[in-house]
């Protein structure tokens, strides 16, 4: 052995944090909403990257699941955030959220997520009412080994989103669905939802309880009046 690096712990594999975006691409999202959502996610990527850099012992990975008439992985292979680049989604068809959660559930297993993991973070973004069986999808999600232990955040776009369904997805007594009433709020909510869970791993904590409790206290408060809806 003649070439021993001085500090070679670099070789020890870092624990992964999967950030999974589940995006409503139904027909009602067509047009400005979809364009604005694409923009919001693309512009959140650098912020996710810098939050990840603040957590050097965590390997932050991104996965994207879209759903409309069916659920389909947009980015299936968990992509390291350092080389992630966003490709736009398009909208059409129904809001098969239940089907999306069922697909998601099958991928939230130790086999589908090999190696050491932190609780996966699932960010669900939707503007409407599910057109299929949400409850069975949610049940499948909560029955999957890592789904039950996931950190779940929901963002409702506009006034037509089914808040009861989204709150049922989050399933936390204090952590409510985040609402985005206009494009600017959407950018902010997406950015918060994708970076705050990464930051809680390494930032000082002021509340006792789990990471989700901590997040629920930091969550942006809905301050916009319903009359300010722009969509």
């Amino acid at each position: 052995m003649t070439d021993t690096p001085l500090f070679d712990m670099v070789g020890v594999v870092r624990r992964q944090l999967h950030l999974i975006l589940v995006i409503d691409c139904s027909g009602s999202m067509t047009g400005e909403k979809m364009a604005s959502l694409n923009y919001a996610i693309a512009s959140a990527v650098p912020a996710i990257r810098s939050a990840a850099a603040e957590n050097p012992d965590t390997d932050v990975r991104l996965r994207i699941l879209r759903f409309s008439d069916q659920a389909q992985w947009h980015v299936e292979e968990a992509a390291p955030v350092a080389d992630f680049s966003w490709t736009d989604l398009t909208a059409e068809g129904e809001t098969r959220l239940g089907s999306a959660l069922t697909v998601l559930a099958t991928s939230l297993t130790p086999e589908a997520m090999p190696g050491r993991q932190l609780s996966p973070v699932i960010v669900l973004v939707s503007d409407g009412q599910p057109t299929d069986d949400f409850a069975s999808g949610q049940a499948a999600l909560m029955a999957s080994p890592y789904g039950a232990k996931s950190v779940r955040i929901a963002i409702a776009i506009g006034s037509d989103a089914d808040l009861d369904v989204l709150n049922a997805f989050v399933a936390h007594p204090e952590f409510k669905v985040l609402q985005a009433h206009n494009a600017e709020e959407l950018v902010n909510r997406i950015k918060w939802a994708t970076t705050a869970p990464v930051k809680t791993v390494s930032s000082p904590t002021k509340v006792s309880g789990t990471a989700v409790d901590q997040l629920s206290q930091q969550a942006p408060v809905d301050t916009v009046q319903s009359s300010e809806l722009v969509w």
Partner: protein, 445 residues
């Protein structure tokens, strides 16, 4: 949450000195507030402006700041609040100024970053960083204050010389006062993770030991087999590993959380490159020291002595360059912990209670020949180098400002002025002023 945004050019009044300053640029925003660079007639300063939510949630904040400003920093490594600031036109905002962090300092978390962001200081500079950290917190604790959140986010390091800077001193409070934070994940003492205690001097001592382990090993002391086998680290698993059931990865009496072959090998090798004294203290810190109580935690004075000794006894393997501490006396048998090549232990100089290995390039620092503390103790006052014409002869070059006297076993004696080098020979004695050094080995004859 209101995030005040101040534009460049906005006017600041420093409350105590009644000087004016101008906002230059935003440096960054964190969980508590934003930090700006400001231009003051006395040079650049940093201005921290709190979010209103932070002020509302932390009733002791103003009192802590005023107390800190009145007391001044325990050591210059603390980027300590200097003065309260008022922002003209924004009387509602709470703000203070502090020294700017020099650009040579990088966050300690860069020690564990993935390449290319990772910094990899030499082992000697890691020992110095630990030594200076221990000394800084000793000074803080000695005056009855505690830091509350020793972690990656607020300690900074000069990777080229081991000097440190300590930021976020606005949480510093009288030991025993209600805490403003619980601390940061993986640095919190087990009793805080279990929610049985709040940050105090005693929990600072634990967090500091975690920081030492990270600085030396680039790893967490409790992350052994158990962490490796925990596939999903959720909140419950975290409370168990770091709170209710913590176990040191090098615990000799219970190896159930020991290193995993093929995974933790570099960490094991690094562990055995450390001096026995440091390993003993780390073992204490993460075995008996896992229990709450001042009596179970390792105190700064113990660390300071161990790290100073470590700093002066590091060699690089001539075969593989792996840095390690050599505790074997010259003439004894020593093998590299990385490549197992036999290494001839270098000669040493005894200096009071200290011992400096006289390998070429070794540095004598100011604290070995005088009562220096803080960054001043880090000043290099002499270096060991080969004779320009005969590399088999070693000399000690005087890089300080005072003249030494060297006395050799044959009775000859000579003055060694600043800039000159004194030949190192067995039994020779160099008088540095208040301290003298005694050369031990014949290798340098």
């Amino acid at each position: 949450m209101e995030i005040p945004v101040l534009d460049p050019g906005a006017l600041i009044l420093l409350a105590g000195s009644e000087r004016h300053a101008v906002i230059k640029r935003l440096i960054g925003s964190g969980g508590q507030g934003s930090v700006y660079e400001i231009d003051d007639s006395h040079g650049p300063l940093a201005l921290k402006v709190y979010f209103s939510q932070t002020v509302d949630a932390d009733p002791r904040l103003a009192q802590r700041l005023d107390r800190g400003i009145a007391l001044g920093p325990p050591d210059n490594a603390f980027l300590w609040p200097l003065d309260r600031a008022r922002i003209l036109g924004r009387p509602d905002l709470v703000a203070y100024v502090m020294p700017m962090r020099e650009s040579r300092f990088v966050g300690m978390k860069r020690l564990i970053s993935a390449p290319p962001d990772r910094v990899s200081p030499k082992l000697v500079d890691r020992a110095i960083a630990c030594l200076l950290t221990a000394e800084c917190f000793h000074k803080l604790h000695a005056r009855g204050q505690c830091y509350q959140d020793i972690s990656f986010g607020n300690l900074f390091l000069d990777p080229l010389n081991g000097e440190i800077a300590i930021c976020d001193n606005d949480n510093v409070d009288v030991n025993g006062a209600p805490a403003a934070v619980y601390g940061t994940r993986k640095f919190m003492a087990p009793e805080i993770v279990r929610r049985e205690a709040l940050p105090s001097t005693i929990t600072d001592l634990y967090s500091m030991a975690v920081m030492f382990f990270y600085i030396l090993m680039a790893w967490h002391p409790l992350d052994g087999r158990r962490e490796h086998e925990t596939l999903l680290l959720d909140g419950d698993a975290e409370v168990s590993l770091y709170g209710t059931d913590p176990l040191f990865m090098f615990d000799e009496t219970d190896e159930s959380n020991g290193p995993v072959a093929g995974v933790h090998d570099p960490i094991v090798r690094r562990w055995y490159s450390l001096p026995r004294t440091v390993r003993t203290l780390l073992t204490r810190a993460f075995t008996t020291g896992l229990k709450a109580g001042i009596g179970s935690r390792v105190l700064e004075t113990e660390w300071i002595e161990a790290f100073a000794t470590m700093r002066d006894t590091i060699i690089a393997c001539p075969n593989c360059t792996y840095e390690q501490v050599c505790e074997t006396a010259s003439g004894g048998q020593f093998t590299c912990v990385a490549c197992q090549t036999p290494i001839a232990p270098p000669a040493a100089m005894l200096l009071g209670r200290g011992r400096l290995l006289l390998s070429h390039g070794a540095k004598l620092r100011a604290d070995r020949i005088g009562r220096e503390s803080g960054r001043r103790r880090n000043t290099v006052v002499a270096t060991v180098e080969p004779h320009p014409r005969d590399p088999s002869i070693s000399g000690l070059r005087n890089l300080g400002t005072t003249t030494w006297t060297a006395v050799y076993v044959d009775g000859r004696s000579t003055a060694v002025a600043p800039g000159q080098a004194a030949r190192l020979a067995p039994g020779c004695r160099i008088d540095f002023g208040t301290v003298h050094g005694l050369c031990l080995n014949e290798d340098h004859a």
